[in-house]
Symmetry: C2
Subunit: 123 residues, 2 copies
DNA sequence: TCTATATTTCCATAATGATAGAATCATTAA
DNA sequence: TTAATGATTCTATCATTATGGAAATATAGA
């Protein structure tokens, strides 16, 4: 993943409403949700939501498909994976050539689906 | 990790100069670099760099320590780990209670230190 | 067609973020 | 104390992003 692409994705997620939209879509993956449903669930005006969906879309974090009068938005897991990969590749010391401590923390072998969970210090 | 904290960190990283600063510091972990060295290496005016360092600092992504007339900035790996943890916890479908596909991608068991690397599709 | 609904674009406004020169503060050495 | 250097804050300016009402653009059903 390129630097600029990472910045685009980071910026897309670094906004309260957009992060909420993305997380909501994750909860409804892989089908996604219609824009109207998102707007209602998050209490966002249509125009505002549309603006944010465009941002997320542009960043490649969500995809859209039309179904009748509805447009369904769904998360693009791969984009998030790429971002996590990018961060993981740059989250640990590279001066000594290894990622010893950090890797253990960054990429634990197995993890349960959790909402409020601490990173395991000793994976 | 809280939502707002994640947004703060994401916003701190979602800026070209700041991401460059952070990556530079990662290359020089754990000692870090003096502000002057960062400014020189990245070609940033002092005032501009100081502004960005404050942002990174505020987000908890870097720490600073004074040494003589120099102030050394170092990356806080834990903050990045927390962010990756947060993203990992929300990067995959939760509707079915599992993270099957996504987990394999998000959290590969072991990975080498790489600069330009693709996420392994089959971990 | 006409109507209702879903969504986006347009637009103006407000809020926030970035930039960098100049002034200021802090530390050290002479 | 004075001078030199490292770093931050002050300040003004410019640029970007967010907001949301109103108008415009689809789509589907009557």
């Amino acid at each position: 993943m390129q630097n600029k692409q990472a910045i685009t994705i980071l910026a897309a997620l670094a906004q309260e409403s957009r992060l909420a939209v993305y997380r909501l879509l994750i909860e409804h993956a892989p089908e996604g949700l219609a824009a109207s449903a998102i707007a209602e669930k998050l209490g966002l005006p249509n125009a505002t939501l549309s603006f944010h969906l465009k941002e997320l879309s542009h960043a490649g974090l969500v995809s859209s498909r039309q179904s009748g009068r509805f447009i369904y938005y769904a998360p693009v897991i791969e984009a998030m994976n790429d971002l996590i990969g990018y961060l993981t590749d740059h989250c640990c010391s590279q001066s000594d050539g290894t990622c010893s401590t950090a890797t253990a923390k960054c990429a634990p072998g197995k993890r349960p689906a959790a909402t409020t969970r601490r990173r395991p210090t000793s994976a």
